[in-house]
């Protein structure tokens, strides 16, 4: 009897790229539902539009590059980029914002570098930064959470969808009546104006830890992150040092002057902290590749997030911090190689 002769190992691989990507998407589902409960259909619309743009550009650029598309489109990596980008976008933006963001993320950050596995920078964050620099007005159209403000007249789903695709608001509303600043924004402006943090936190948009609603989305993102840790999809190094890098200076400065600096809990549950720690900084392609390197990389992002939030021009700093640390990865990798077994 004759047999085929592939080389060892013969054991089947335990996991595959599409399985990893689907786990990441699955881990985001609870947070998506929570976000939708608090902020309306914006996130789902954003996800649908970024995903469509991402998949379409991925396929078209691959075709232009003369590369086969069947595995690349089915590996779900473009969908993960789209999902992360849609979490970063305000939930109330015209349809062309997510379309441009998805297309830029895939072409500029991923395919121009050679596609899956070749990007130096996190594609979702490149897409986000491109949008916030190009369209600062639209990119600050955040909504208040459900029941966040008693004076607030919430939009119906139909009115929301109508705005996204036509730009038309109901006659009795203008854009300023619909959108609200985010808790991070309010804190930043308030502190700049010299108001004590405790007074700012007393506002109706604030909850137990961070912003009302936002803190629950953050909780569900953290839950998804724990699922990724449990399944071995991500490892503990980056989330742990990211959160420590943010929380240690936050705690120290809060203890020194609690009126001028937000408490560490607020930092933990506000903005993109959880998304950054568990889903964005852990994106393997653009992150450091060694265990020790990942500790440094995560800590660097955490510290930068704190610095940018506290002294920077933008209210949050996760995207810029991740991209800055992406740039240091080759250096980190070079100096953190583990000692090989049996070598000095």
């Amino acid at each position: 009897m004759r047999f085929d002769q592939p080389t060892a190992p013969h054991a089947r691989p335990l996991v595959s790229v599409p399985v990893v990507m689907r786990r990441v998407l699955f881990a985001l589902v609870p947070a998506m539902l929570c976000h939708t409960w608090y902020f309306g259909p914006g996130l789902l619309l954003n996800f649908a539009l970024t995903a469509a743009a991402a998949l379409l550009t991925e396929a078209s650029v691959l075709r232009l590059r003369g590369r086969p598309t069947r595995y690349a489109v089915r590996d779900c990596s473009a969908l993960v980029t789209a999902a992360l980008l849609s979490f970063a976008l305000p939930p109330f933006v015209p349809f062309w914002i997510p379309l441009i963001g998805g297309a830029i993320a895939i072409t500029l950050a991923k395919q121009l570098y050679g596609g899956l596995g070749k990007n130096l920078f996190n594609p979702a964050m490149v897409g986000y930064v491109f949008l916030i620099l190009s369209f600062p007005v639209q990119m600050t159209q955040w909504l208040p959470p459900r029941m966040g403000d008693l004076d607030y007249r919430p939009l119906s789903v139909g009115e929301h969808v109508a705005y996204v695709f036509t730009g038309q608001l109901p006659d009795d509303l203008d854009i300023d009546a619909v959108t609200r600043a985010t808790p991070l924004d309010i804190v930043k402006e308030g502190l700049r104006a010299g108001r004590p943090f405790a007074e700012i936190r007393g506002g109706s948009l604030f909850g137990d830890f961070g912003g009302r609603g936002w803190e629950w989305v953050a909780n569900f993102i953290a839950l998804g992150g724990l699922y990724l840790l449990y399944t071995g999809t991500i490892r503990w190094h980056i989330p742990t040092t990211f959160l420590s890098g943010l929380l240690v200076p936050a705690t120290v400065l809060y203890l020194i002057d609690p009126s001028a600096y937000p408490d560490p809990g607020f930092h933990l549950f506000s903005g993109a902290t959880m998304l950054g720690a568990f889903f964005i900084a852990t994106e393997p392609v653009s992150a450091a590749g060694t265990d020790r390197g990942r500790l440094i990389y995560g800590a660097g992002i955490g510290l930068l997030v704190y610095a940018l939030r506290t002294w920077g021009a933008y209210p949050d700093g996760v995207a810029f911090s991740v991209l800055l640390m992406n740039g240091t990865v080759p250096l980190i990798n070079r100096y953190t190689r583990p000692r090989i077994y049996g070598q000095r």
Partner: protein, 453 residues
């Protein structure tokens, strides 16, 4: 009476589905005599044995058919009585795959007639003569490397510890487990004999945690032997805990430097099967003519462990185990991680063959698509040599010899952990094997970047 219990003291490694229970359900089948024996004269690194029989001659069970050549080498013996039909080149699985090798082909006569016990010399008392007897007995390391045992018993420095390897970490293989369960006293006696020959102050029999029955049997035998030098160690069930350097790391916390052997640092590793073979030689004057082989996989009707005469054609062994099941897709000599796939079942069982897996398609990797590397680093996490396979891959594709050296290509033990954990399903180990061969001859490395289709 287990002396040491190790939790985890190993770099990397991976927990794999064991697939061992199918072959451990029943006892070792003994007394199997095939119709033909194909005895390869070179079954190990080093020098081939030199035939001392002529075509047409009748040989008896245990008779020397080839004596050891210049060291390192080991003699070859007939596993049953019969007639020498030819001395010719035949395809045999060696260290570099299936290659033609000079073989003594014996047609057995079914009488299984032994060399008279009186004809065998008595067991010598001094260590030099004992080593010579082990060499003449054709005994080699039965863990897979088949290095001639006598040559491994001569070390450049005094031996501190003899490590007897009963870890058997690779999936599917259970021959050492079953041997320890059934012949624990002989394994212990053989261990003490090797300890004696080495002059070692300490011997450790290391067994993986997933073999409680083997451990219990060895415990009882060790208790009966009552020798202070003998220690038992339970090691974690993790692949590749049974690798020689990995086991040294596990048991001593020490690392064998790159490119060196444990023997240079006072550690000698022997497989439990080797210890058993040495004891058989001393007690029964029986040279190495048979070994326990695990025959398993979904493609064979009766998975079991069989004591197989060396030289048995694999086809006859499979027939003895009930034949193939429908859908058998691959024949592997060794385990699923480091075993060789065989082109056909005509090749013989050698001293190195610890396991034959007749695998169904769903048991083995058949889908050969690779995604691009996503740099997740899981390969580095499982690498027992603490290499960065993802970086080695890039250096290999670029034929960057300097980077390959810095990144430690030469320290890759080809265990296959990185392949199995890789979500991009990249065939890393095969690329590293090709890279090693190319580096040796300073040629560009003919490997491609994954994810090109």
């Amino acid at each position: 009476m287990v002396d040491y219990v190790f939790e985890r003291h190993l770099s990397g490694g991976i927990l794999l589905p064991a697939n061992k229970t199918a072959s451990t359900a029943g006892p070792i089948q003994r007394g199997f005599v095939p119709t033909k024996l194909v005895l390869a004269l070179r079954q190990h690194r080093g020098n081939a044995a030199e035939p001392v029989v002529a075509v047409g001659e009748r040989v008896l069970k245990g008779q020397t058919v080839a004596t050891a050549g210049a060291a390192p080498s080991a003699a070859v013996h007939a596993g049953s009585s019969g007639w020498v039909r030819s001395i010719e080149e035949r395809p045999v699985l060696g260290g570099h795959g299936v290659q033609p090798s000079l073989c003594v082909v014996i047609e057995t006569d079914g009488r299984d007639e032994r060399v008279p016990a009186a004809a065998a010399p008595s067991w010598p008392t001094d260590h030099v003569a004992q080593r010579a007897a082990i060499r003449a007995g054709g005994i080699v390391g039965l863990g897979g490397a088949v290095y001639p045992t006598a040559d491994k018993l001569t070390t450049p420095v005094p031996v501190e510890t003899l490590i007897v390897n009963g870890a058997e970490c690779e999936p599917y293989i259970s021959c050492d487990d079953m041997l320890m369960r059934e012949n624990a006293a002989d394994v212990v006696s053989g261990t003490l004999l090797l300890t004696e020959v080495l002059g070692a102050p300490r011997a450790i029999i290391a067994i993986e945690r997933d073999k409680p029955q083997a451990m219990e049997a060895i415990e009882i035998a060790a208790h009966a032997a009552n020798d202070q030098r003998l220690k038992l160690a339970e090691v974690p069930t993790i692949y590749p805990a049974g690798g020689e350097k990995q086991l040294v790391e596990l048991l001593t916390g020490e690392e064998v430097p790159s490119g060196r052997y444990p023997g240079e640092f006072g550690y000698v590793c022997q497989n439990v099967g080797t210890a058993y073979a040495v004891q058989r030689l001393r007690a029964e004057r029986e040279p190495l003519i048979a070994r326990v082989v695990t025959v398993t996989g979904g493609g064979v009707k009766k998975p079991q462990n069989v004591e197989v005469p060396i030289g048995t054609p694999i086809a006859e062994l499979i027939a003895y185990c009930g034949g193939y099941n429908e859908g058998v897709a691959r024949l592997i000599a060794g385990g699923s991680m480091m075993g060789y796939s065989l082109p056909d079942d005509d090749t013989p069982i050698t001293k190195a063959t610890n396991c034959i897996i007749a695998a169904l398609a769903e048991e083995v990797r058949t889908e050969m698509h690779e995604w691009p590397c996503i740099r997740c680093g899981d390969c580095a996490m499982v690498c027992p040599s603490r290499l960065l396979p993802q970086d080695l891959l890039v250096a290999a594709v670029a034929s960057d010899f300097a980077a390959l050296h810095t990144l430690g290509l030469q320290d890759c033990i080809e265990c296959g952990c990185c392949d199995v954990i890789c979500p991009s399903q990249i065939m890393l180990t095969e690329r590293f094997r090709i890279a090693k061969r190319s580096v040796a001859v300073r040629q560009p490395i003919p490997v491609t970047s994954p994810g090109q289709d």
